[in-house]
Each structure stands twice: as structure tokens, then as C-alpha cells.
Symmetry: C2
Subunit: 354 residues, 2 copies
């Protein structure tokens, strides 16, 4: 593997000095880019694209060709894991993900197993290897997984949900089954992320998209608890380099102190908390990644720069900040606005690192 | 008007002693009740039901016939205000609210006006008067309105939204228009709630359902700020009785201290924060209303009692707690589970008031 030419992202996650604040965007390889839409068309379905290492590599690199991003993120989907468990993932036209065999009973939970990620999810590791080769050390590659709780919401509901009636029904009425499901999923995530790291992922991120839908007790018991187990089970050093871990519970800023004790190197932040206040709350225990509202990208480049300046000022002087959006970039954003965002971070952050 | 026979709810909002913790449920008159579905069928559309004072009264009282609730809430919809502004509210089959004339440009904002609520929304005041007569002092009646920001999301998006692209586009790119829209809406809300109070509403609640979608700065500037103006403009005493005001920003627990300084008597809480911690943060400045996850009602009556017990214990001894769900009751909940919830609050709370 080639030496890394730009290690800002990894250094910031480890709270080491950098020249400017590194920046990437969640869902940076996505539908807002015409070249992504072209590759997607060529691939067939969204799932076909995820399962094709060459094309997954192609879309992973597309945003790097346009913008001065400091990291690449594996193009994939969090639902590859339940798919590998045999739940039968499919995407209905314009309707989001669905499972043919949702896990809606104790009997269904009892049938769950930890899949062999090296065979069942080999296409993901192949994509990681292909991307690392194509990147040639340009920027680091981020691997990722959904959190067990977040995966459980899809596995039990059978798709997306607004109120999580079924999965919370199981959580409240049959916590033993819920724990069993989460335990199997957590063990799978450990194997999955370690396989990604072995294949070349230089940092990993755990997306807990629906942790914020839980009460405080349930967040700790059913979400954070399993993420801690995962973090404890991860390969934290590979090929002589540390592999930082980012934990992101969307809508979970009220539990930041607990997250900071999870063992993660960095925490993702949505946009509902000032990053300066978040920094005060976590101290020097973790780095912070975030936290611009993705809808700011609908505004003018001037307004985008203003918002970037505000967030940089809020974080203040020193190390430990990776700039990002507080959630994935929206599909109707003008790519030129994404460029204004990325460039503004680099241009305006230099004074904070002197 | 008859003397109030059960004033627990009002006393708790004013942090006065009560015998047991009062309880009501957001959306307690709703689709989970077969008798509601029958009246709804009789009325025609949802909007027809809102605009028919006799039938609105009928559904308002239905949950009180079943459960030992300590308050009634006016059956209506937050979107009556933009409808009265001429935006043309309609509900497409199974698709939620839509506006024929959304407010998507500066020119459209410039055309907005403060409608005469006494004439344009007379059906609401008629419903309040009808309900007060029918209640005959049994429990207090709650009036309500959406917050200006929450109303703005529907007015600009033209209906519900997942990412608020249009309304945030206006907020970020044309804040002057957004402020103008919010100012007109806030002045309308003041007139609307004061008219409800004059007609007989004994407490009022401001629903800021989408405040939690904003950044901290924008929440203060574009949502809380206008709710403060509303609270300052409300009739706080009517017919010799105080009229308490409840403010509820869903997903806004990170701003609880700011909300406590808004002038509201009580704050609504969703379920993502322990109510005991919330009480520590707001001190004796406001009462708290909440905060059971509505999905707990899908669990067994035993599990529901357990959750009620936990929340009562978390709040602890003393005054200032109105028990409620952290969001509206779901349509697929078994009414017997709602009964278990209401009864558990009364039965288990007595020791906390001795």
C-alpha cells in the first residue's frame, strides 16, 4: 500500500495538530452528483451498485475528483449485514429499503446467526481493496457499519419506520429477544468492521441513525452498550497505523458525555448542538466531527461560508475537529455549493491551527 | 360557566399541591378509538370534523368517557391558521396535509396578512364554547396552536417534509422574508389563542413540533423568539383564573434552560431526556409535562405500569408534574392500554404527593 499523502483526517481524529481542518461529507458519493447518477444507471439497482466492487470504487472516488475532500468513504449501505443474515434486502422503486423476511417474533430471533462476513460480504472487502488501490494514498478510506440498534429497527420493522412501533414493541415487551438480536448483530459488526480494516479501511464509523429515538435508559442499554462492545472488539491498529473509530448517534447530543466514555476516538454531531458547547462537554476525551446543517447547502455560497466560519469559531483554536455535515448531503444540492463548503473549510480554518 | 370539579391539571401547571399527578394524552381524541373513527366517518373529511363544532365537541369528550383523564384538549388541527390565511388546506387520502398555495417566494410572503380569527376561525371558538358547556366543569379544557416556526414549515413546504429544504432555504437565504412570515404568524397566534381563552380555554399549549430540526442559534432566533412574543401577548388571567401556558419543542431538550426563560408556565418534554434530569435543569421556574415514549403503549399493561413508575420516581416528590406521553398516542394502540396508562399514573403517584 502507498504512503498516505494527506493524513489530516486521521490526525484530527486522534487530536493531533493539522495545518487546516479536514473535511468530508456524509453521503458525499451520491445522487447530487450527475456522474453518480450515470454510474448508478449503468449498475442497475442501488444494491447492484453496492455489490459491484469496480463500480462501488468508481462512485467512491467521484467526489474526490471534484472537491478537495480529506477522506473517502466506502460506498455501501448499512443494510448489507441483515442481507447477509438472509433477511432478503430489496429496494422498492422510490420507497427505500425492505426485507423479505423481517424479524418479528422470538422464533425469528432464534433463527438469527452471525454470518461469515468474509464470504457473505466479500463484495464489501473487495470494494475496500479496490478503492485503496485506486486511491493510491491520496486520502484515507473510511469503512463503516450501522449500529446494532439502528440495524435492528430495519430488521424488525422490515424497512424504514416513522414510529418504530414493532421494534420498540419487542424492546419493551420481550427485551430478552431484543438483546439476543442485538448481541448477534454486534458480533457480526465486529467481524465486519475488522474485515474492512484488514482489507484496508483506515478509520471506521458506526452510524447510529436511530439511537435518538430511544429514552435515555434504553439508549444506554440497547444502543450505546452494544456500540461499546463493538469498539472494544475492533482492531485499533493495522499495518503500523492507528485505526480511529467514530461513533455517531443522530439526535443523541443529550448523551454526549456517555458517548465520550465509549472508547471511540471521535463523536459525530448533528447540527442541533453548538460544537463549541459540545467540545466543553467532552473535553479532550474525544475528537468531534460535524456539524453543519446539510440544508445550509441549499443557501448561497456566501451564506455557506458564513455558516462554516461560525462553526469554526464555535469550535475554536486547536486540534480534534473534523468538519462535516450533521447528516448526509441531500440529493438536490448543487455540487457547486458542496465545493463552496469544502473550500471554505480549508480557507477559513487556517488561523485556528496556528 | 360551572365551577371546575377537577383542577389537578391547572394546579400542577402552576406548581401547586395536588393529590395525585394529573394525566392526559396528546392526541387523546383520535384514531385509536373506534368511537372516534365512527364520528370521523359521519363528519366526512378530517377537516370537516375540525370545522363542525358539535362533532369536534363529540370527539373531544370521547376519551373522557373511557378514561379518568384530568384534562380535555380541543379537537382541532394546527393548520387552521394558514388555512385562515387563504393557503387552501386540504388532506389528500392517507397523505397528510397539503396547501394549494404554499408560500415559496418573497412575493408570496408579502401577500400574507393577519386574518380576523373571530370570523375566519369562528368554528374553533364555537367548538371551544360547545365543549366547555358539554364538559360542565368536569375537567379543564386546553386550547392550542402550532408555533410560528412549525406552521412556517408547512406553509413554505406546502405540506409535511422530511428535510425542510424549502423552508430552511428561505431561512438561510432570505431571513428577512422568513422573519416577516413568522411575525405575521406570531401575531395571528396571539389573536387565535386569546380568542380561544375568551371562548373558554382554561390553559393553552404551543406545539413546536419541528423546533428540534434547527440549529441552536436558529432555534432561538426563528422559533423560541416568536414563542416568547406570543407568550408575552397572551391573556394570562381570565374570569378570575390564571390561564397557564405550556410550550413544547419536540426534539428540543437541549434548549430546556432557554425554554424555561420564555415566560411559559410549563414545558412539554419528549421521551429522550429523563424527567428527573430535566427537573434539575429547570429548577422551580416551570412545571414539566411528559414524558413517556408513546410506543410503550404497545407493550403489556404490566410493562406500561413499570414505565409509569419509573417516570414518577425520576420526577420525584412534589409539585409541578403533569403526566403525558412525549408525543401523540399512535393510532394502532389498544384503548385498554391507554386505560392502563392513565390508571397507573393516578394509582402510583399518590405517595409522591404526601
Amino acid at each position: 500500500m502507498s504512503e498516505l499523502k494527506n493524513d489530516r483526517f486521521l490526525r484530527a481524529l486522534l487530536r493531533q495538530p493539522v495545518d487546516v481542518t479536514p473535511v468530508w461529507m456524509m453521503r458525499q458519493a451520491g445522487r447530487y452528483l450527475p456522474e453518480y447518477r450515470a454510474t448508478r444507471k449503468k449498475a442497475g439497482s442501488f444494491l447492484d451498485l453496492c455489490k459491484n466492487p469496480e463500480l462501488a470504487c468508481e462512485v467512491t472516488l467521484q467526489p474526490l475528483e471534484r472537491f478537495a475532500l480529506d477522506a473517502a468513504i466506502l460506498f455501501s449501505d448499512i443494510l448489507t449485514i441483515p442481507d447477509a443474515m438472509g433477511l432478503g434486502l430489496y429496494f422498492a422503486q422510490g420507497e427505500g429499503p425492505h426485507f423479505k423476511h423481517p424479524v418479528q417474533s422470538r422464533a425469528a430471533v432464534d433463527k438469527l446467526f452471525v454470518p461469515d462476513v468474509e464470504t457473505e460480504l466479500r463484495y464489501v472487502m473487495d470494494a475496500v481493496r479496490t478503492i485503496r488501490t485506486a486511491l493510491d494514498g491520496r486520502v484515507p478510506l473510511i469503512g463503516f457499519s450501522g449500529s446494532p440498534w439502528t440495524l435492528a429497527t430495519y430488521m424488525v420493522e422490515g424497512g424504514g419506520s416513522k414510529d418504530f412501533a414493532k421494534v420498540k414493541g419487542m424492546l419493551y415487551d420481550d427485551p430478552a429477544s431484543m438483546h439476543k438480536l442485538l448481541d448477534i448483530t454486534a458480533r457480526t459488526v465486529i467481524n465486519y468492521l475488522n474485515a474492512q480494516i484488514a482489507a484496508g479501511a483506515q478509520a471506521v464509523m458506526i452510524f447510529d441513525t436511530w439511537g435518538g429515538a430511544l429514552t435515555t435508559r434504553d439508549y444506554k442499554t440497547f444502543s450505546l452498550n452494544y456500540m461499546q462492545q463493538i469498539i472494544a472488539g475492533l482492531t485499533r491498529e493495522h499495518a503500523g497505523h492507528k485505526v480511529p473509530v467514530i461513533l455517531f448517534s443522530k439526535g443523541g447530543c443529550q448523551w454526549l458525555e456517555d458517548q465520550a466514555s465509549s472508547g471511540a476516538d471521535a463523536l459525530g454531531l448533528d447540527w442541533t448542538l453548538d460544537i463549541g458547547l459540545a467540545r466543553k462537554r467532552v473535553g479532550d476525551r474525544v475528537a468531534l466531527q460535524g456539524n453543519m446543517d446539510p440544508t445550509v447547502l441549499y443557501a448561497s455560497p456566501e451564506r455557506i461560508r458564513e455558516e462554516v466560519a461560525f462553526i469554526l469559531q464555535s469550535y475554536g483554536q486547536g486540534n480534534g475537529h473534523v468538519f462535516n455535515l450533521g447528516h448526509g448531503i441531500h440529493q438536490h444540492v448543487d455540487p457547486e455549493h458542496a465545493r463552496a463548503f469544502v473550500d471554505a473549510v480549508h480557507e477559513l480554518s487556517r488561523p485556528y491551527h496556528q
